[in-house]
Symmetry: C2
Subunit: 455 residues, 2 copies
């Protein structure tokens, strides 16, 4: 078994960008910042153009193509209005079009631009100046303070942050978006800082207990956060920087940390799992529902709906008498929306026992009257002080139960897309060939049910 | 629909013994009491020979063949010893043999005799004189005080008691023995007295709530009884005269009382249900286990074991993943011991989900090590902060589960008899023909699952 030091040494080679990459990225960032400064001046707008995020912190992963540039405007009504309304971004977009840089307008809490420039994606985010202790006007306002806070403090720990980010990426908990509900880049930086390095973070996480971890780097918070993980944002003690982390993501990170310490291995940093063949996968009944990805919707919307749908399906299936084992959500290449559900049994028996009221309650008589002349019902009979009947089961097949659950969801494009899509029950792993090609490996991986890092 | 008055008038005709029967029973009782008095004198034993029970109270049901005669001995060490040891009963038995009356020795808390005389069964029970307020030496000592208490008080209510007894008999809750766990004769008398008649008792019972009913006729009790029904014994406030009544029996009586008031009918007093045919019964999977009745064991022993077995089987079957619906126990004609179990599904799927420890606990590593290289296991995977695996199910058939439950019971003749017997799974009611003739109607009635009085 390799020891931790060897693994980390090798992993560091992977996560450290080359000198060329550093140079290239910095010069691209400077170029675009100059362009933006010029355009803002031409528009008569007063702003600091600043580099933020992992490039500014020196913690990006090699090959990353994302650069964050924030435009910090003075804190006054004019700019607050221009930023929030999107007017500012629209003017800037027009100005940038003139010089042939292509862009897309995106919407978080307020509009921002994503430029495509020399092969990089550059997020250009307007925000309002915020001084330490002040309340942010927009959610983006804290970002410059984050960079300010980390400057100097993080130096020397960049490699550690990169190791942590890569590991989290590999175990699927990196990113605060709804699709992942995991650890944001800033959060990985704060945690690395709090514990003083990658290995110490892993050691600490191996002892984490969800809902019992609260990390305070600076000022203690007066707020009581109810979240699996609490990391007080040092620039705003009223905010939990780990609010996005779900129990699942935290548990996965804890489990992976414990495993890494017991069995250090490059599996935690590489992604070289071979696709499974149907012969390697046991035949546990798995229902697969998929539809087209709704092209015009942003990921957070789609995944928000998808998660709500998953939870409704799980509840409907359980309350219909099935035993759901696991549910998986996928949007491969943003082409499909896919829900996969493993169950113990895809078909339930014809009859079910149905518990009625206690015999001494007012409901007893209505229960008897309801069932006493019902055809196809056995009973009523008394057990443990209650009336019971045995009656034909409403829903016997898992397909029906899932479709019922899906229909019970309130609106949404994802629901519509899935209802228009396909529902396939896989009893034998070889049936994955009935699925579109892009879904087969995902289905086999889901059916095999073991995290790739658990070796 | 017949009204209550008409039904009761007709039922009274059934429960009231003829003048001939009254005369016959009284003269038989007197005869045997004279014989006993003479024999006791000859043996030099000093005792009051007293008539007790339903004959003494005038509340027996027509056709009853049981007469209770209690021999009340002075409260001193000599007699206490003679009664408790059984020496007295043995001497009396020998003396009675001389005059050609046949007898059987029975054992409750101490031995007593059952004589067969002119077609009657006469229980001859020795006991020790107890004055009101005194502690009983043997469990039988209270009986003469019960008769004393009821004398006079019950007069005029004999018909009401008889109606109550007959109804309880028909709905299967009459008798304090373990087989029934229902209402003793004395208890029906106390309840009728407390509420002042049959209809008032039924009306009161229709509003009973188990564990909330406490009936006090005389002195309130200082004891806190925890039982579905509490009726303070007026001759011994430290005793709950309804201690034998199970929740099931009480619930059945409550339900039947409510139904009787809504739909008065002779069904509650007659037993003219036609046997069902297999065509009338729905095919709910039912497992039937039966063995030979162990001839030399008294009913309370057999039924005590049978009830314990039923509860172990129920628990084993549930924890193995089956959904038990109902369990029935029978000892038809004391020839067979029979357990019948209805389940939703007699065969479970090949794999089951198995919940492991929370990922952040010390047990997590052992769980992973146990399953990571196990063949035939899918996972481990993480859900809701826990490790899970999907593994082959240990027990898939209900037969196996029931036999496992049976084997888990600690010793006993009933267990041995059932293990030597047959286990038959009925998926189709027509299969009852595979059962011994005496079991077929019982099986069909059990599978039809509706009390005969619920019409």
């Amino acid at each position: 078994m390799p020891n931790i030091e060897d693994v980390i040494k090798e992993a560091l080679r992977i996560v450290t960008p080359s000198q060329d990459e550093v140079k290239a990225i910095n010069s691209i960032a400077l170029e675009i910042m100059h362009i933006l400064e010029r355009k803002l001046r031409e528009l008569g707008l007063e702003a600091e153009v600043t580099l933020q995020g992992s490039i500014a912190h020196g913690t990006w992963l090699p090959g990353d193509r994302d650069i964050d540039v924030f435009l910090v405007f003075p804190r006054n009504d004019k700019y607050i209005n221009l930023v929030k309304s999107g007017e500012l971004v629209r003017d800037l977009a027009a100005a940038i079009s003139e010089i042939g840089i292509s862009w897309v307008m995106n919407y978080a809490q307020h509009p921002y631009l994503t430029l495509t420039y020399n092969g990089f994606n550059i997020d250009v985010v307007p925000c309002i100046k915020m001084r330490p202790g002040e309340k942010p006007i927009t959610a983006a306002d804290r970002t410059p303070l984050h960079t300010l806070y980390l400057r100097g403090r993080l130096s020397g720990l960049e490699g550690d942050v990169r190791l942590l980010k890569l590991m989290m990426k590999r175990i699927n908990v990196y990113g605060a978006e709804i699709k992942v509900q995991g650890f944001s880049g800033y959060l990985t930086e704060l945690i690395t800082l709090a514990y003083g390095g990658f290995v110490n973070t892993i050691k600490a996480a191996s002892r984490w207990i969800p809902f019992k971890v609260k990390i305070t780097l600076e000022v203690p918070s007066k707020v009581n956060f109810n979240a699996p993980l609490v990391v007080i944002d040092p620039v705003d003690p009223g905010r939990n920087a780990a609010a996005a982390v779900s129990l699942d993501s935290m548990a996965t990170f804890i489990a992976a940390s414990r495993r890494f310490l017991r069995k250090p291995s490059m599996t935690f940093f590489t992604n070289n799992t071979k696709p499974l063949s149907a012969l390697q996968v046991r035949n546990i009944p798995t229902l697969i529902i998929y539809g087209e990805y709704p092209k015009d919707y942003v990921e957070d919307i789609v995944w928000g709906q998808l998660r709500r749908i998953a939870s409704t399906i799980w509840n409907t299936v359980s309350s219909s008498g099935f035993k759901p084992i696991d549910i998986g959500l996928y949007t491969p290449q943003d082409n499909y929306i896919v829900v996969m559900l493993t169950v113990e049994e895809p078909e339930l028996p014809e009859y079910e026992v149905h518990m009625g009221p206690l015999v001494w309650t007012d409901e007893a008589e209505a229960f008897i009257e309801k069932y006493i002349n019902a055809s196809n019902v056995v009973g009523p009979f008394i057990r443990d002080g209650r009336w019971f009947v045995i009656r034909p089961r409403g829903i016997r097949s898992i397909k029906e139960a899932v479709v019922k659950g899906l229909k019970a969801v309130r609106g949404g494009v994802v629901k519509d897309s899935l209802l228009k899509g396909q529902v396939i029950l896989i009893n034998d792993a070889a049936q994955v060939n009935e699925l579109p090609v892009e879904l087969r490996d995902i289905a086999l991986a889901f059916m095999s049910k073991r995290p790739h890092w658990l070796t």
